[in-house]
Symmetry: C2
Amino acid sequence: MPSDGESSPVNPLKSEGSQSGEGRTPRRKGRSKRIGIRQVAELADVSVATVSMVINQNPKITRATRQRVLRVMEDVGYTPNRLAQSLSGQYTRMLAVLLPTLRHSVADPYFGELLSGICDRAAKRGHKVLLEHAKPEFIKQQGHLELFDRRFVDGVFCVGFNERHGFLRDIAQAGRPILAVNNVFPEWDLNHVVCDYAGGAEQAVTYLQQLGHRRIGLIHGAMEAHTARVIRDTFCRMQEPFLDGEPCSSFMVDGKFTEEFGAQACLELLERHPGITAVFAGNDKMALGAVHAMTHKGIRVPEDVSVLGFDDIQYSAYTTPSLSTVHTPLYDLGVLAAERLIEIIRGKQDRVADVLPTRLVLRESTSIASDIRQQ
Amino acid sequence: MPSDGESSPVNPLKSEGSQSGEGRTPRRKGRSKRIGIRQVAELADVSVATVSMVINQNPKITRATRQRVLRVMEDVGYTPNRLAQSLSGQYTRMLAVLLPTLRHSVADPYFGELLSGICDRAAKRGHKVLLEHAKPEFIKQQGHLELFDRRFVDGVFCVGFNERHGFLRDIAQAGRPILAVNNVFPEWDLNHVVCDYAGGAEQAVTYLQQLGHRRIGLIHGAMEAHTARVIRDTFCRMQEPFLDGEPCSSFMVDGKFTEEFGAQACLELLERHPGITAVFAGNDKMALGAVHAMTHKGIRVPEDVSVLGFDDIQYSAYTTPSLSTVHTPLYDLGVLAAERLIEIIRGKQDRVADVLPTRLVLRESTSIASDIRQQ
DNA sequence: ATAGAATGGTAAACTGATTAACCAAGATGT
DNA sequence: ACATCTTGGTTAATCAGTTTACCATTCTAT
């Protein structure tokens, strides 16, 4: 941004113009100024350094002195100002969760579970969690680096991004603590924690094959996502033996992770291969879209076509039919992510790459292959 | 908490014990210390006060000087440290969203939509958003007040609470900016923004009545929630004329806002009143639970019984059958909430009580009453 | 008995901004 | 021509903590 410098509202709150008269006296309700560390020091008859050391549990201070100071702190209801603490200290004890710009990303139960886990554990470790949407403007204004430069946070989680989001590399290259959650970036080797998508996909396809399904369609998520690629590769590897040389790719359609495109993808698959007896989807939303589409076409699930999802979001148990799916322990993944990011920040880890196991959850949307069922 | 003072880890990060030797030299990667306002001042040949005034767009500074300072700031890539800004300034420009302790509250699409709206608008106004779960320990340790006392935030949104959560009053009584979102607290008159539940319920019941339904069941949410009470009251008022003196209450069952209890409640209703031709639920999750339960019992929706939900969560369009429901503009409500809370903080508002209109969304789960249909 | 090391604490220099009080120089009023 | 405003900026105090030297004691060890 060369040009004139007339813009650049670094501190937008102040751009309010003059406030119209009306004798503003923003004094606190307590008569004297807020109670600070110096007041405590004075009351306890020690120096502020001592109080500070008590706050930080520095072993240098005697039990007796510590008690006396704690007593005063409790009496006057003192609580250290975290802005001052962070300003001089090394850490802010804040973490940010970076989410992609999808209009309603937070509304997605997928993110929700993750977020719950992250928040709970972060709180337990004394950290606060900031939510940030990585909109284009945000990135353009270097918002992601500002998060660190202006000392908002000590580290960030990134959830739901892919290799096209180059700005993540900026953070890593700046040497800032960053942890990808449920995403892998082989090219930049970012720290990450993920669910075992390969294992889940393997279990899923094995299960369908055991039910007698041979012609299985895959509705995969957007190919930019590493997890989507893993599911696709696993699917292909396992189905190849059953396809008599037909290209595996013709059994796969992109569902872009949404109900809507999942529905479309499903219809596309059925048109290409009317003999398909099972559909495996890369997430539950696409699976539900597929069920919806087929039901509307008069195709019964699972009697005519079985459907198997991935993720096990909350709703999957309450749809009609309820959805068989691969459970990804997203809450636990969030917990683990928080734990690991904090370790990275404290310098106790420098390469994180953990994998959490997934498991099959069988419900009503899958059954024995329709073409081999004796009726 | 009288007792001994041996606990009280006010700053848990430090409780790490000594760090094992290994010459720690935590200098930044740039050779000199991080660039601050003084460096900028020196380079621009002005005082720090001037730089500060440029940052804050104080009109006192000449265009020429401003430009010169901005130039330097850009050249050296200066960005003000927000901890220092907040420490001396009056605001932190942070807001917290307080959520109830429900294990997966964030995972609920209801909260998700709201959160999206809040975050987007807050970011646009230069505020960051903190997420906080109001667990029992959190409250017990006065975490909600600490949020202000330790200067974490300027104000809080509270989402999904009810009058049993007395701690909300603490915040209000401490004179701290607080805004209830989609909840009303008549007794404590907290600031709030809500969707028009009464209006929505009225439209819903009117619609069902117009379809010929007379015996309608209500699955309402937990009675602690004001919105649930509003729906119930509206429902009763409108149904009374059609009940021939039967008590309205026998047509209502608590579904506790979840799929599971919604399903149970629905079965309970059908048992009490086999003649019911429509079920109205206080939220979509309960409605979906009801659909699920009935489908399992072989009761067709909407051919035998119509189902109408409330909220219009994303999934409702993709269930089988898709759900007719009352749309609550949760995203917009979030946006409005952010706008209002910031106004409260700046002192431009002191009583907020806004209502956003709701509207009926007709899909597949409702049809003309089965007992009057000519077939 | 006494040098040397622990022990327990303090004073003062940071952290990086905001802001109230003040001041010099040029514009204005009489 | 002289006192009085404005303008545009500066100086220094302040926000509320942390941390590094440094200083008295008291405790060991010789």
